[in-house]
Structure formats: structure tokens, C-alpha cells
């Protein structure tokens, strides 16, 4: 109960604060977008598998969005988000079919290899992708209506938050389902899982596809919010950042990656805004601090506080 109250308060703040401070609107959308991608990473982390290439699915969602708006007549926000999510899911399914045969470092490095191939293609296919200058993303329409950009931005935040609740709940259900529980079993004892008659390959492919679709949804939101997509979205450091956000937030639950993403965005904004020359170091130190002192991530801290609060 306490947890639901906290989530409700968090959402309420996310809606109210931007009314007072408009630029937070953008920060919150970006946090949700990054959070979706990090949630995808968390799914795989639950199975003990680290993907250092997951930004490729974020990038695919972002580029699908850009191309839908530029090349086809599709401008409806809902349809774009759906196509980008499904498109990335399909891409994840295809890549996943051979990716989930591998474990540990091989899995991590192969993911990174795929993401770097896509990064290189996005940067090199100049006439198709605009190269490193990227592609402009126009403002989508909402249910046929062309909105003023400022109104649209507020609406995009509300839609992001609604998606966060809806998709978050679905993923929560998935994690509590046998298929979701099997992920942890892959981590603890894969052989035993196979003896139980469950295909680890199938379990992982399922998770991989979902995680790619989540990253694609995040990519689509980010692309629409920023209004521009660049190949750096698929670069391996961006994938590393997603893993970092996942670890920061904690991999215990669905809320973790979103807390991690919000923390990361805010630390970066404050550091870059008030220490233009040392912001990299401040961000690094903040992350180190969390990892040293909060081994279960920020979500672990929340859980600990909840327990204490519930006990007293």
C-alpha cells in the first residue's frame, strides 16, 4: 500500500513540477524514455545476462519514428509509438534468435558488436540516415489534431507517465508469471530448468524480445521529445549508460530503472549546469557513491525505508 502511495506521489510530482518549471517537462520525459530502455536491460540482468549493446534497440525505435514521420504519411503519435515498439520488438526477436544461445561475456560482447555495426551503418549510409548530422523528427499529430509544440510537450509527458504505469504494470505481471520467474532460474541453475522441461532458449528469447520492444518504446519517446535522432544513440557508451542506470536504480523491481534514470538525468543536469568543466567527474563520483554505498541500487534504499516505515 505504502509503495503504491509513493508511486502515486511520484507521478503527481512529475505532473505538477513542470507546471512551475517548464524545462523539467523535458527532463522527465527523457527519464521515462531512458527508464524504459533500462527496464529492458533489467529483464536480461535478472537472467544474469548483461547486454552492452541494448542502445541499438533504443536507436531502432528512434530511427523508426524519424522515418515514419519523414518518409510515410503516418503522423499519429499513438500509431508511431506502436509501430516503433513492435518494430524494435521484431528486430530484437530476429537478433535474439542467435543471441540467446550465448551466455556471460560472449552475450555481452556480441550485443555490443551488433550495436556497433548498426551505429556504423547509421553514420555511413549518409543519404539514407543523414549520417552523423542525424534526422529531424517532426512533431506528430495526436488523434488527428496538430498541436502547438508546447501543448504537445505537456501532453507527451502525460502520455509517457501513463505508459510508464500501464507498461510497468504489464512487465510487473510478466515478472511474476512462470515465464518471468524462469528468468531467475536461468541465472541460478539453467540445467535444472531444462530438466524441468522448460526451454531456456525460449524463456530468454521471450525476454529478449520484450526488452528490445521496451527499449524501442523508450527510443521513440526520446526521439519525439528531442526532435532529432543521431547515430550516437546506438553507440556502445550509450548502452553502458543504460546498464549503469539499471544498476543505479536496482534490478529488484520495475520501478528501479525509472528511479535510476531520473537520478541520472538530474545529476547530469545539475552537474552540467553548475560545473561546466567538471561535470563528467561529478556524474562519475555520484554514480560511484551509489554503487559503493547502495549495492542494491536506489530502489533497494526505497525498500529499506519502506520496511522501516512499515515496522514503526
Amino acid at each position: 500500500m505504502m509503495r503504491i502511495t509513493l508511486i502515486a506521489v511520484g507521478l503527481l510530482l512529475a505532473v505538477l513540477l513542470p507546471l512551475a518549471i517548464p524545462w523539467l517537462n523535458f527532463v522527465f520525459i527523457m527519464a521515462v524514455a531512458q527508464g524504459f530502455a533500462a527496464l529492458g536491460v533489467v529483464l536480461l540482468l535478472r537472467a544474469g545476462m548483461i547486454s552492452i549493446g541494448h542502445a541499438v534497440f533504443l536507436a531502432s525505435g528512434a530511427y523508426v519514428t524519424a522515418f515514419l514521420l519523414r518518409q510515410t504519411g503516418i503522423t499519429d503519435l499513438g500509431l508511431i509509438l506502436l509501430v516503433a515498439t513492435l518494430g524494435s520488438g521484431l528486430f530484437g526477436f530476429l537478433i535474439g534468435m542467435f543471441m540467446v544461445r550465448y551466455r556471460a561475456i560472449f552475450f555481452a560482447m556480441l550485443n555490443m558488436a551488433v550495436s556497433m555495426v548498426v551505429f556504423a551503418l547509421l553514420a555511413k549510409l549518409y543519404h539514407l540516415t543523414g549520417g552523423t548530422d542525424g534526422v529531424r523528427v517532426a512533431t506528430p499529430t495526436v488523434l488527428g489534431a496538430v498541436l502547438d509544440r508546447t501543448v504537445f510537450d505537456s501532453l507527451l509527458l502525460y502520455i509517457s507517465l501513463a505508459l510508464l504505469v500501464a507498461v510497468g504494470w504489464l512487465v510487473h505481471r510478466y515478472l511474476s508469471s512462470p515465464l518471468g520467474k524462469a528468468l531467475e532460474a536461468v541465472h541460478t541453475n539453467e540445467v535444472r530448468l531444462e530438466y524441468l522441461g522448460v526451454s531456456a532458449w525460449g524463456v530468454l528469447l521471450y525476454a529478449y524480445t520484450i526488452s528490445a520492444a521496451l527499449a524501442g518504446l523508450g527510443g521513440a519517446l526520446a526521439a519525439i521529445a528531442v526532435g532529432h535522432v543521431v547515430p550516437e544513440l546506438a553507440y556502445w557508451t550509450h548502452s553502458g549508460q543504460l546498464v549503469l542506470i539499471a544498476v543505479l536504480g536496482g534490478i529488484g523491481g520495475v520501478v528501479g530503472p525509472f528511479i535510476g534514470a531520473l537520478f541520472f538525468e538530474i545529476v547530469r543536469v545539475v552537474a552540467a549546469g553548475y560545473a561546466a568543466y567538471t561535470w563528467n567527474m561529478i556524474v562519475g563520483l555520484a554514480l560511484l557513491g551509489v554503487i559503493f554505498f547502495l549495492p542494491n541500487g536506489l530502489y533497494g534504499l526505497v525498500q529499506r525505508l519502506l520496511k522501516r516505515g512499515g515496522g514503526s
Binding site: 555511413k124 543523414g130 529531424r136 537520478f263 543536469v269 552540467a272 549546469g273 563528467n280 526505497v302
Partner: protein
Amino acid sequence: MKDIVRTALGGLLLACAATTVSADDRPSELRIGVFTFLSGPAAAYGMPGRNAAELLIEQINEAGGIDGVPIVPTYVDEAQGTDGVITEFRRLASDRDVMIAALSSANCLALAPVADQLRVPTLMWNCDTHQMFLEDEYEYVYRTNSSTIPEFVSYALYLLETKPDLERVAIINPDYAFGHDAAEIFKETLQTFRPEVEIVAELYPRLGASSYHTEISRLVSARPDVVFSNLWGADLENFVRQAQPRGLFQRSTVVLALGETILQRLGEDLPEGTVVGVLGDGWWQSPTARENPDTQAFVEAYHERYDEYPVFPSFKMANSIMAMKESFERALENSGGTWPSREEFVEAVAGLEMENFTGTLRIREDNDGLVDQIVGVATPADDRPYPVIGEMVRYPADLVTPPVDEDPIAWIRSLDQDFLDQLPKPGSYQ
């Protein structure tokens, strides 16, 4: 969660504290955001820009600011990536009057619609890409410098004059849009006038590569008459140091489009006769710059503080700051002395024509800047331990910039002998 909220709130309170409501009367200070690369490899280009901004703003403030209002800059590091840059832009937009942004073309393309949305006057100090104003129209976004088209067409024109019989051309550019754009513009211009020109090698090493030995082998074995490059920063320095001992500079005429930025660093390691220039007219020793006492005062102050002379990115930045000051002054004149609104300010930027440190700047109707282009060759100097630019030509902006609304590549293909005859000749600018 509580802690997170607390952290977030803390950040917000800080931000709010920094925000003061400006009265409709004269503000106590003019707050601007300056976006450039402060870290990473691109800082080689970004820091001279930052330094110029810092120094020039100080000089302006010492002289009384803009009609008594001092300028207060906030510098933003573009190395945090496009979404970070957009976040900062949106954050600063709430209480900054003007933005000087940005260096990277990708960032500029992403920022421009945001600037229009938030109605923040934005002067782009670098962003060379010719895509900038090609498809979209902006109300609040202006570029106070030239684009890739005049910048790289000029090098081809210079070669057509100085090496009329060139046939074999090799290109080595950084592997991103800037490098590919430059290659296309350079090739198109040469081949428009000399269709027999053959591109014998086209290499795109990645940005930040430290070794160019493979590329240099290819370049040497391709036996080009001309090697064109728009590498820059540490990449360019590395390339020259590695290529020089292998005789590339003896066998071919090497064109370094951003060569001016490394003259002081390489000194005598840069072989004589290398074609170098600046993107624009921002050379601190050009005849125009020498004649202008303000420029010389700025150059000396810059040297004193940063221990090197300003390079052309410094002047690109200076152009933006000066254009901002001039526009404010014009807007004040138009309004009869009341401080201009953002709209009145951008109205003054549109159609601006002004003298700056190294020449003139005109903002034309598509919001793009018109700036002359200087090209020359590295020549030993009598009074300095590093080469200067000799055999200079100064191509007038009107001639080498495509007209508004014309496809730039189509424009290049339409150039003819009459066009060449109008141009000043190499060595004519002295």
C-alpha cells in the same frame, strides 16, 4: 524515493533561486548561454571559441556593456550529447535572453526547432552544415558565419587557379557528416570545371584516430597531384606529423582546409607550400585584421591571457558576440532607447550588416551569414617561429555563396567560366 524527491527539489530550488523576473525596464544584466565543446577531442576547436567569448565579453563589459547592461555568460559543454544539450538549452531558456549555440552541426539541427518553440533568440556560432537553412525556416535562429558550401568551394577555386593542370585528387576527411559534405562539395566544384579530374583515393578515418599510417600509404601509392583534407584538431596534427616524413607533402600539393588552427602548434613541421586557410575570414594576421586596431588589441590580449594567438574558431565566436551586441544596439536605436523584447532583438538581427574584427558580416533573408573566405599557402614568416599564410586570396561572400533557396550542389554544377573570371586571383589579397 523520499531522498530522490528531496534531491530533485534541492536542484529545483537552486534553479529557482537563480531565476529573477526581468522587469520591462532595462535588465540589470544580459544573461546569455554559450554552447561549445569544453571537453573531449572537439575541445581543440571548442576552447578557442570559449576563450574568445570570455575575453570579448570582458572587454565589452569593461567598456560599459551593451548600453550599460553587462553581459553574463553561462558556458555549456556540448560533449554531453544531443539530449543533454537540449536539456540545458531548455533549462537556460527560461531566464537567458540570447543563446550563442552551437559548435556541432548535429546539435544545431536539433536545437533550432527548440529555439523557435521557446522563442529564444539563438545565434549559431559555428555549425557549418549547409542543411541548416535549406529546408526549414526559423524566426529566432540565425547563423553569424558561413556554411560548408562557400568554405570548401573556395579551396577548389584556389586550386583551379594555382594548379590548372591537376588531374589526380585524393581526399582524406574525418568520417562524419562534416567530412563527407566537404568531400562532395570539393569534388563537385573541381569536376564542374575540369571533368577529367579523377578521384584516386577517398579515405574517411574515424574521428579521433591516432594513427594514419595505413591511410598515408594509400595516399602515397595513389600518386595524387592534390591531397585534400578537412581533418582538424589533434587528428590534423597527427596526420601532418605522420605524413610529413613519408614525403606526402613533397609528392603532392596538400590542402588543409582547417590548417590555420595548427600553424602555431606545428611550426616548421608544416611544410612550406601547403594550401591552408580558414573557414571564413577569421585570420588574425590578414591585411584586414592588421589594419584594425581593435582586432590587434583583441589579439594581443588573447595572446597574453591564453599564451597563444586566436585561431579562426575564436573569430567565429567573436562574430557571434559582436553580432549580438550590434543587434542590441540597433534594436535600442529603433525603439528609442527602451530595452528590446526578444522579437525586437531578432528583428534587428535579420538583415544585419556590420564590420567585425576580420571583415564584414551580413545576415541575409534565409537567416544565413555571408562571410568572405580566405585561402592561401603556408609561407615561412620573418618574425615568427611558425608559418603564416601567404599568396592569399579573399573570395567575396556574395560570389562564393549559393543564392537563397537554390540547391547548393545544383548551384555548384551551374558555375561556368564567367564565374571564374569574376573571382579575385591568388596573391591578390595583401
